[in-house]
Each structure stands twice: as C-alpha cells, then as structure tokens.
C-alpha cells in the first residue's frame, strides 16, 4: 500500500466516523464537531488523490481546493456555533427536537 492510498483510506474512515457522529449524537456541539471531522476526512481524500505524477511531484489543483474548502468549513462552523448558542438560549438546550414531535 502506498502512502497516498493510506491517506485516502484514512480520509474515508474519518468521513464515515464524522457522518456517524452527526447522526448518532443529539448535542449540537457534538454534531458540529462531527461535521468538522467529516470535512477533514474529505479534505484528506482530496489531498491524498493529488499525488499523480510519476516523478512524485504533487498536483497543485487539489491543494488549492483543500484551502478553499477549509475556508468554507470555517465559515460554516462559525455560523453553526452562533446558531447553536441562539438555539440554546431560546429553547434552554443545545439539542434539536425530534422532527416528528414538531
């Protein structure tokens, strides 16, 4: 197994762990952290797949994608944290109600 494959498989593992956390845990802080783990997994896959050249020179495009992706993830996390605080102050708990009971 090459290094790139190891990184890509680790990325997919992180992606799955993150999605699992997003669905499994009720607390919003855990959901937001899980979303960041998912994002880290995707970015790892993107960066790992960058190694394409035979002489080992990495492809710069995926690196640019990852940087853009991280910026987007930071913005999304910021908005999610603010919303979480407002949900917590409006309902008294940082959790989402069961959609069936709404």
């Amino acid at each position: 197994m090459t290094g790139a494959e190891l990184y890509a498989l680790t990325g997919i593992a992180l992606f799955v762990i993150g999605l699992h956390g997003l669905i499994r845990y009720a607390h919003l802080m855990r959901k937001i952290l899980a979303l960041n783990v998912t994002g880290a997994g995707v970015f790892l896959v993107v960066a790992a797949l960058a190694e394409r050249g035979q002489d080992g020179t990495p492809d710069p495009v995926p690196q640019a994608l990852v940087i853009t992706g991280i910026v987007v993830a930071v913005a999304a996390t910021g908005l999610a944290l603010v919303l979480m605080l407002r949900v917590a102050s409006a309902t008294g708990r940082a959790e989402l109600p069961d959609p069936r009971s709404e």
Binding site: G39, V42, R52, A76, V87, P97
Partner: protein, 488 residues
Amino acid sequence: MTGADGTPLIVAALLLPLAGAAIAFAMPRTTRWVGIATAVVLLAVVVMLCGAVGAGGELSHAVGGWGAPLGIALRVDGLSAAMLLTTAAVSLAVAAYGRSYFRDESAGPAGFTPLSMLLIAGLNALFVSGDLFNVYVTLEVLGLSAAALVARAGTPEALTGAMRYLLVTVAASLVYLLGVALLYHLTGTLDIRLVGARLESGAAAWSAVGLIGAAMLLKSAVFPLHFWLPPAHANAPAPVSALLSALVVKASLYVLLRVWLDVLPAARADFGAVVGALGCAAVLWGSTQALRQDQLKLLVAYSTVAQVGYLFIPFAFTSAAAAGTAWRGAVYLVLCHALAKTAMFMSVGNIQLFGGDRIGELDRVVQRLPLTMAAFAVAGITVAGLPPSGGFVAKWLILEAAVQEGRWFVSAVVLVGGLLASIYVFRVIGPAFTKGAQPRQPRRVPNAMEWVAFAVALATVLLGFFGMPLLELIDAGAPFGNALEPER
C-alpha cells in the same frame, strides 16, 4: 463546444446581486431601495441574456481569461437561462414584498436585504458555472445564507429549523465534494464537460456519481430525505420561505441534472429508475401530508415536497424522445412552481399578519383580504396543474412523456398528484369564505403586500399562454442534446 462570448451580461448577472449585498451590508439605511433597485436591474440584465441565448445559442465566459481546463468556464445555455430568469423574477417579487414585510425591522448587517442578495448571487453563480468545484462553493454560499435567513424569524421553531437545515446542507455539500474529488482523480479536470468526455464507466465513476446524487437528493428534500424541509420552510419569515421553496431546492436539482446530462450518460438507466421512483413517492407522500396539515405554512411546505417530486420523475425516462419532452416540462415546471409557491407563501404571510395561520382559524378572509385569497387560489390552480395555467402545460409534457413510454404508473402518479393538490388548495379556500369559530380583530395588511402576491399569482397563469417562447428558450444551445441522441 464553446459558445459565443457573453462576458458583459454573464458578469453583470453575477456582480449585481453581490454589489447589492455589499451596499446593503455597508449602508443599512439604503436597504429599502437597494434590494428592489438591484432586482429590477438584474431582471433587465437576465432578460437581455435570455434574448441573446435564444437568438445565438450558448454563451460563455472564461474567468480571468483562463479557459478550461486551467481556469473556470462560465456557460449559459437554455437551461441555465431559464433558471436565471426564474431567479430574477422571484427575487424581484420577494424584494418588493420584503420591503413592506420587514419595514419595522432594524436593518442590520444580518438583515433580509443583504442576505437575500447574497443568496441570489450564489444561485446565479451556480446556474452559470461550468466547473464542479465552483458548484461546491456556490452551494455553500447558498446554504449558509439560506440558513441565516431562516433564523431571522427568531422564534425557537425557526432557530431549530435553521440549525437542522444548516447541518443537513453542509453535510450534503461535503458528500458532494467527496464525489467531486473522485471525479477529479479519475479525469484530472473539474470542468463538467471535460469530465464527461474523459470519464469511463466503472466502480469509481459509479461511486462518484452516487455520492453526488445522494447529496443533491438530500439538498432537494426528495422523499425520504425531506425531513428537514417542512420545519425550515414553515417557520422562516414569509419572503424567505418563498425564496427557499421557489429557488433553493431547485438549485440542487439543477446540479444533478447537469451531472446527469454531461457527466455520465452510461449510468442512466439504473440510477434514473431509482431517482424517478423517489420522485413518484415524493409526489404521493408530500401531497397526502399536505392534506393532513392544519397550519397553512406547513401545508404549503409539504406541497413543495410533492412538487419537487415531479421535477425528479423525468430521470426515470429511458427513451431519448420521452426524456427530452419530460425535461422540457420539468424545467418549465421549475419556473411555474417557483412563481406559484412565491405567491402562495406571500398570501399565507399576509394571512398570518392579518391574524391566525391555521385553517380552522380562518375568519371570512375572502371578504377582508380579497386580493390575497385570489392570489392563493390562482397560484393553487398552477400547483394543481389545471388549465390554463403554466403548471398545466408543464405537467402535460411530463404526462405525455409517460404515456409515450407506456409508463402507466407514472402517468397515474402525475394525475393523482394533481387531484390531491386541488383538494388541499380547496381545503384552504373553503374555510376562508366562512365565519371562523372565534371572530378576530384583524390587523391591517399593507396594500403592497397584497398586490405583489396577486401580481405573481397572475404571472403563473400568463405563463400558460407564453409556453412556446419559453420552451424554445429552454431548448437554446440544446442542453438536452445528449438526451436526444440515440442510446449508446
């Protein structure tokens, strides 16, 4: 294939809403005028763009002078032009309505005007984008501004609805990005058409398209992935609900359709059958849920789940001719449903302001808000797909395709969906005539809000009479050209 240079118009369609958002953000006192002025100019630009596309076929622009595969290509064909036209029309209506709806709010940086302009900038950028990663960025611009807009209502229900929506949309975007990463690895490019030309069918290509498909179905709230839509759309402020139901759910349909048409013709048959079946299920489930709702806004939100289902039915068609007909119908339905849902959410917003948003609480609304109820009824005609509305033309095309392929189950679903829609519309109109159980002291609804709702509803009927020129526009640049080729 590279179309004619459309630089000035394409760049204007992107920069106008961004500039409007920036001005409204920096100078909150100007919001009352900036929103509507931007929307008027944007509509003029988009009409010119549609004229150019209709006359000369596809337009394109290479960002920064760097063409694909190095740079990002922006392309406008008939499909993009129709989506841009829908966006511009709805944004003008919503800007005019929002001026009255939010007249008392303290305009801040997170106010309605800057956020809605940002949302429209994201939509326009998405509809002209020819690059898969650029699509990811525009989806995030859309998702973040939409979630912030939902939260503007400030109620606990709206905040939890916005939170759930944000988590869903960001997660879906990440799934999409993983699919794009795989496609880049396989083809070495992000340009949608080059990916399509270089991609070979195989397990990795299938996984990539599967990931992108799942992400877009989640974002479009296709049954059974619709759980997040009703709380978000029903608890948002009325103009925001209109934007979300009319435009945002269709953005992800557009992405899936682009990937479908340009990237992987080989995967069509099986994948399409699944998506089409989900579309049929969404029509039936959304309509029956709408019938069971007592709260007006939830009824309209479930109606969106049902109508979005129609848009995914054409994926099921395998023969080139039927698919082409059905797609024309579906894109036409995007335009009609956008205007009809805008009118419906505006009418419901008026009724809510007037007092009481439950069907049981409607108290002689027809006499007191005649224009609002007329708007709701006329928009209901389009949603139910009755003649002479635009919705009738659109659903007729989908039905025609279903009959052409001998898919009797699909034709039955299209018809039953229309029947259920007429029932849930009439369920609202009936009680509006009668005296409510508790007489209400009504609050005044600004005239502008009633007139805007009525004008938008009227436009949906007019669309039924202007079907041909619009269908010709959708065909410009042959966006469904692939679908019309014989099967490979």
